[in-house]
């Protein structure tokens, strides 16, 4: 055994096992893509003849297109609200200490632990009193709760190791609070805000349970329409929809990864000494190893 090496040997079966498990996590979902190009009515595999008929089915169906539009608009609205609320909260939390901070952080994060069905039911009762069940605003207002934790986490993480002296320097040189925020704080936390916004967007775009409880027939989001269709029969059109959603997801995923890489590079380039120290101190954070901001790993909404 090579003691000098810092990387120990692991039993070969562990490597095979790990690769198998990761394949189990990723491959079945990707199989939807070849299935969607199948000309057959049945979901046969390997596909018998190549066809785009299920894509045509989607693009020529007003209901599907309307749902896609609703999902997009909803996700943008949720993203806007959650990003503003989460960013402000994260800045405030960063400067707090003690019990107050713990309680507030726990409150902001708790939607991730509460079963989403319970949250959806509570919102249903609440909006029923306001006669808002079945409205688009109810869906947006509800989904924001699930998106806020991600906005807070991402911005909070990007504030870690952010030297307070920078702000004091700015104000001692005569900058007002607004100038300090826009010229000093904002550029530093911008990558955190952007990735928080992407998370918020994806949370809402995938969100299903709150939308199922609160959306009216005119506001059926894409996941709800998929659910309704799947209740009736397993249409291959869903394979086409799924492939397109997965395509969009991969694009957003790559964008957020590129964002993180750029943020990391810039952070290291601009503030080499403090950045490397901060990284060393956080041996247990996961994201150091995936090349990005701590906390930018998406702990997706626990909606299952």
């Amino acid at each position: 055994m090579n003691i000098a090496s810092n990387t120990p040997r692991v039993a070969p079966w562990t490597a095979w096992f790990a690769h198998g498990v990761i394949a189990f996590m990723v491959v079945p979902t990707l199989l939807v893509v070849p299935i969607s190009f199948n000309g057959d009515q049945y979901l046969s595999f390997p596909p018998r003849d190549f066809s785009l008929r299920w894509y045509e089915d989607f693009w020529s169906n007003d209901q599907w297109l309307h749902s896609a539009w609703i999902s997009l608009v909803t996700a943008l609205a949720v993203m806007a609200i959650a990003t503003v609320l989460g960013t402000l909260a994260a800045i405030a939390l960063h400067r707090m200490t003690g019990v107050g901070k713990k309680v507030l952080l726990a409150l902001m994060m708790s939607p991730l632990m509460v079963p989403t069905v319970v949250l959806a039911l509570a919102l249903y009762f609440f909006f029923a009193r306001l006669q808002m069940v079945g409205t688009w605003s109810a869906v947006v207002l509800g989904q924001v709760i699930l998106a806020v934790p991600f906005a807070v986490l991402n911005v909070h993480a990007s504030l870690q190791g952010y030297p307070a002296t920078l702000e004091r320097a700015a104000s001692s040189l005569g900058a007002g609070p607004v100038t300090t925020f826009l010229r000093i704080t904002m550029p530093i936390i911008r990558p955190g805000i952007l990735s928080g916004a992407l998370f918020a967007f994806m949370v809402s775009f995938d969100e299903f349970i709150i939308a199922l409880f609160l959306a009216g027939p005119g506001e059926t989001t894409l996941p709800v329409r998929m659910w309704q269709t799947m209740q009736l029969y397993i249409s291959p059109t869903i394979a086409a929809v799924s492939s397109m959603i997965t395509g969009v997801t991969v694009a957003v995923f790559i964008a957020s990864h590129a964002l993180r890489r750029r943020a990391t590079r810039r952070r290291f380039a601009e503030r080499q000494p403090s950045a490397s120290k901060a990284t060393k101190g956080k041996g247990r954070t996961l994201v150091r190893n995936s090349g990005g901001w701590p906390g930018s790993g998406k702990l997706m909404s626990k909606e299952v």
Binding site: F17, V118, A122, L123, F125, E167, M230, I238, K298
Partner: protein
């Protein structure tokens, strides 16, 4: 300026109080609306109602089974990743993060496409003449478990990895230099040090498992109904708000009790590795 920035939390806090805490209180209060006694009577009746008990039993059993399976699959995977040099971990982490980004309904649909009678597995086996009639793979507790384990695995791996990566390889190496076999070094050094991650993963997965809704509803049969589906049916199909809120209170109580027990012997922060 950030020194005096505590007020910046006000909009978010106000939002959470109005849109999140208030609805939760309304729901918790609704069984007790008429009187406190009648509320507790209703809750007691719901607890002994046989049809609810059956669903609750299914829910707890399913959550337990998928937790055990996901931890058994996830532990060696997280171990392998934590022993890799850090520059190699990145691409694996991307693959592990990818499912978290993928739409839940898409992933569930993929399992239906794979497992149904005319699906990928059956049609492949039949065209290879290995079977003459499709095997029934879908709409049973097995397909629910497969779907749930696949969804839970990223959480299991990330939670355990974030603890394991802090365990210095040198500790196991030292044990081996001193004469322990690799197996003994693992059981006596690595495993005990990884227990915080293991227990956090178990709790997180079990709590998540209790609240599953989409997967059991779409991949399971009638007998695999879990409490989430029951709640939705009571409200949306039957309009029975009272039962729905009683079931939600039970589900929420189970979650809170588990979190409380866990917080007695470990830090709740372990549950959200990204927040560290």
């Amino acid at each position: 300026m950030l020194r005096k920035s505590s007020w910046l939390i006000a909009p978010c806090l106000a939002y959470m109080l109005v849109m999140y805490v208030t609805p939760a209180l309304i729901m918790l209060y609704s069984p007790f609306q008429i009187s406190v006694e009648s509320g507790f009577t209703a809750l007691g009746e719901a607890l002994v109602e046989p049809s609810y008990q059956r669903v609750m039993m299914t829910t707890f059993r399913t959550a337990l089974v998928v937790t055990v399976l996901a931890v058994l699959l996830g532990y060696p995977t997280a171990y392998y990743l934590s022993r890799l040099p850090s520059e190699k971990v990145g691409k694996y982490m991307l693959l592990i993060m990818f499912p978290l980004w993928t739409s839940l309904l898409v992933r569930t649909y993929a399992w239906i496409a794979l497992l149904q009678d005319s699906g990928v597995i059956n049609s492949t086996l039949m065209s290879a003449n290995l079977i003459s009639n499709p095997i029934r793979l879908l709409y049973n507790s097995g397909s629910v478990a497969i779907g749930m384990v696949q969804i839970l695995l990223p959480y299991a791996i990330i939670t355990m990895y974030s603890v394991m990566v802090g365990i210095k390889p040198r500790l196991s190496q030292t044990a081996q230099v001193l004469g322990a076999s690799p197996t003994r070094a693992f059981w006596h050094i690595f495993l005990p040090l990884s227990l915080p991650g293991l227990s956090a993963a178990c709790l997180l997965l079990f709590i998540m498992g209790l609240g599953f809704f989409v997967t059991p509803a779409l991949l399971g049969g009638r007998r695999d109904m879990m409490v989430g589906t029951l709640i939705q049916q009571q409200v949306v199909l039957l309009g029975d708000w009272d039962s729905a809120s009683l079931l939600s209170i039970m589900l929420l109580a189970a979650t809170i009790i588990l979190l409380f027990v866990y917080s007695r012997f470990a830090r709740l922060e372990n549950l959200v590795p990204a927040s560290k």
